[in-house]
C-alpha cells in the first residue's frame, strides 16, 4: 500500500475510532446510572433515555467525518498522494480526540443529570442542558474537522 493511501485510511479510522470509543463509554456511564433509576421507578425510562442518548452524538460526528473522507477518496482512482493522505489523517484528529474525551465527560454529566430525573423530575430539562454544554467542544472540533476535510483536494 502506498503511504498516502495508508494515511488517508488512517484518517478515517482515527475519526471513527476515537469518537466511537468515547461515545460508547459515555453512553455506558449514563446508561448504568439510568438503569439504576429505572429499577426504582420504571416510569422514568423515557426521561433517562434522553440523557443516556446524549453522549452518543460524538460517535455520529466522527462517523460523518469518516464517511465524508471515505467518499472523497473512494472516487479517486490510483494511489493517494502523500500530501493528501496526511491531510486526511490530520483532519480526522479533532473530531476523533475531542470526541473521545468530551463523550466520556459528557457521559458523567449526563449520569449526574439522571440524578435530577430521579429526585426532581420536573427539573430534568436542566440536566439535559448541562450535558449539552459539554457537547459544545465536540461540535467545535467537528466543524474544524469538516473544514479541514473540505480543504483537501486530490
Amino acid at each position: 500500500m502506498v503511504l498516502g493511501t495508508f494515511y488517508a485510511f488512517l484518517g478515517v479510522a482515527v475519526a471513527v475510532l476515537f469518537s466511537g470509543i468515547g461515545s460508547a463509554y459515555g453512553v455506558s456511564i449514563a446508561g448504568r446510572v439510568a438503569a439504576g433509576v429505572v429499577t426504582e421507578d420504571p416510569k422514568k425510562f423515557g426521561q433517562t433515555l434522553v440523557l443516556t442518548a446524549l453522549p452518543g452524538t460524538q460517535g455520529i460526528y466522527g462517523f460523518v467525518i469518516g464517511m465524508l473522507m471515505f467518499f472523497k477518496f473512494s472516487g479517486f482512482v490510483g494511489a493517494i498522494p502523500l500530501e493528501a493522505g496526511v491531510r486526511f489523517l490530520v483532519a480526522g484528529f479533532p473530531v476523533g480526540i475531542v470526541g473521545l474525551f468530551s463523550a466520556i465527560l459528557q457521559g458523567k454529566v449526563a449520569a449526574a443529570g439522571v440524578g435530577i430525573v430521579a429526585k426532581r423530575p420536573e427539573e430534568s430539562a436542566k440536566g439535559i442542558v448541562y450535558a449539552g454544554l459539554v457537547e459544545t467542544y465536540a461540535i467545535l472540533a467537528f466543524i474544524i474537522s469538516f473544514f479541514l476535510y473540505n480543504s483537501i483536494t486530490i
Binding site: 416510569k43 434522553v50 455520529i60 460523518v64 449539552g132
Partner: protein, 649 residues
Amino acid sequence: MAIVPMKRLELYGLVRNKASFLSELQRLGLVELIEPAAEDRRSETEEMIRNELFLIEEKLGEINRILEVFERFAPQKPNFVEQFSGMKTVLTWEEQQNYLAKKEETTRLADRVFNAEKEHNLLEQEKVKVEREISALRPWTNLDLPVASWSGSKRVAILLGSFDQNLQALVGELEQEKIPYYCQVIGEYDNRIYMVFFFLRESRAEELLRAKGFAAAWPELAAGTVGERLAVLGEKKQELETNLAKMEKTIQVLADQRPLFQTLYDYWHNQKIQVEAGRQLLTGKAVFALEGWVAAEKVTRVEEVIASLKLPHYLRFSDPQADEEIPILLENKKVITPFEKLVEGFSYPRSDEVDPSAAIAPFFFLGYGMALGDAGYGLVLSVICLVLMAKVPMGSSGRKMAWLFFISGLGTIFFGLLSSSIFGYSFYPGLFNVVEQPQLLLVISLGFGLVQLYVGTMISGWISIKNGDAAEAIWGKGVWLLFLTGLLLIAGGSQIGLGAYATQIKYGTLAVAILLVIGNGRGQKGIWAKIKAIPGGLMTIYGSIGFFSDVLSYSRLMALGLSGAVMGSIINLFVEMTWGAPIGWVFSICIFLFGHALNFGLNLLGAYVHCSRLQYLEFFNTFFTGGGRPFTPLKLENINIFLKKEREV
C-alpha cells in the same frame, strides 16, 4: 412579553366556614396564599391541623397499599408514549363524581383486597416450605428403604450420605483394611454422589468414611419411603399452586376497581393540600383571615365565586407594596405561550424584568429549523406532536411542550424547503445546499447569532429606558452596538464593498471606542472619580471579545444541520446501494425507515438541547437574569387520574 400584574387579596370569614372557603378557593385555583409570619400563628390551630392531617395520611396510606397490591398482581403496562408522559387514568367529570359517591363502600372492598393478599401470602409461604422440603429430599428419590429401617439391625449399621469425588477414592481404604461393607449409589445430584452404606457396627468403617470427607446425612422424614413422601409433597404443591392462581385471579378481578381507588387517592390528596393550606390562615376565636395573590384580571371572578357561597365574609383587594416579592405568572399570545416553557426551564423573570418568551420565540423557531434542517423530519415532528395532543391526556405543561415541538417542526419544514432537503433528498434546486455549501451555512448561522445578540442588546436598552435610565440605553447599549458594528466593518467591510471607506471606518470605530470609555464615567461625581472609571471603560471594550465568542457559539447550528444532512444522505446512499439487489427493496425500505428514525431522533434531541442553550447562555446573557418565584395557586392536583374536561369553575 407579559408578566401578569398581581393584586393582594385579603379575605375575612367565620372560622366555622373556613373549610368551605378553602375548598372553593382550591377548586377555583386562582389564588396563591401568603404564609403569615411565624409569630402570628397559633399553636392550637397547628395542633388541629396536625390531627386532621394524620387522619388523611392514614387514608392515603391505606389506599396506596391497595394500589400497590393491584400493581403487584395486575401491573399496569405503560405503552411507548406513556413511558415518557407517565400513566394516568382518564375519567370524565361524571365518572369521577360517581366514584366519589362510592366512598363509603370502599372499606368493604379494601378489606377484601387485604384479605385476599394476606391469604395469598400465606399460601406462598406454605409453598416455599413445601418446595424446600422437596428440594431437600430430591437427591434421595431412589432410596426405597423405609425410614423405620434406617437405624439398621442389631449388628448391621446403615449410613446415608454424600460424597463429592470419585467413589473409588472413598472406598479404597475400606478395601485395603478389608472391612466388609456394602454400598449402594442412590443418585447423583449437584455434583455429589448420594449413597447408602451397610457395614458391621463394630467395624471402623464410619470413622474411615468420615475421615475421607463423606458427609453423613439423615433426610427428614416421618414415615414411609422418600418416594412416597415426594409424591405427597408434589400433590400438595400442585394444590397450593392452583389455590394461588385462584387467589391471584380474585385480586386481579378486584383490581378492576383501580380507578375508584385512584380517584379516592387524588380526593384525599387534595383534602390534604386544603388542610395544609389552613396553615396559611390566621385563625382567631371566631374569625379567620387569609392573605393571598391573585392575577389582577381575575379579581372579579374571585369576587363572584366567593360571593356565590353566600357566607358572611369581607373581601378586599389592594396593589402590592414596593418591597414585596410578587409571584410571577406569564401570559402571552397563543403562538408565544409554548415558548414560556423554555423560560420556565431556565428561570422565571423577576417582577422588575420583562418576560423573554416573545423575544426567544422567532429565534428558537428559526434556530431549531436550521439545526434539524430537513423538511421531512420537520413534517414528522409536527405530525407526531399533533397526534400526541389528540390522543394522549396531557396537562397544560405537556401541552405547551407538544406545541413547542410542533412549532419547531414548522420551522424545520420552512428551513428544509429553503435548502431543498426532504429526508436527505433534494428534489429541486433550493436557495442553497447544506452539504455542498457549508461555508454559506456557517455564515448564515453566525449572522443569525449576530442578529439575535443585537436584538438582545436592544431589548436591554429598551428595559433601561423603561426603567427611566435613558443614559444607560444610549451610552451603555447604543454606543456599544455602534462599536461592535465598527469592529465588524473593519473585519469584513471590504467583503461587502466598503473597502474604499476602510480608513473612515477605522477612525470612526476608534472614536466610538473613546466614547464608550468616556461613557463609563458618567454619573461619577468629580474629575477624579471620572478618571478612575476609565479602566472600567477599557474593560467594556474587552467585553467585545466575549460578545464575538458568543456569536461564534452559533456555529453549532451549522454543525448540527450539516451532520444531520450528511447522515441523511449517507442513509440514502445505503438505500440506493441495496435497491438493485434481488429483494433488495425490502432491505432498502428497512434501512430507510430505521436509519432516518435514528437520525431524526438524535438530531431532534440535539437541536432542542443546543437551541435552548443558545437562548439560555448567549441570548439571556444580554438582558435577562431571572430568579423570579413562580405563581403557585392553591388548586386541585390529580396524581393518578386525568379529567377529560375540567368542570367549569
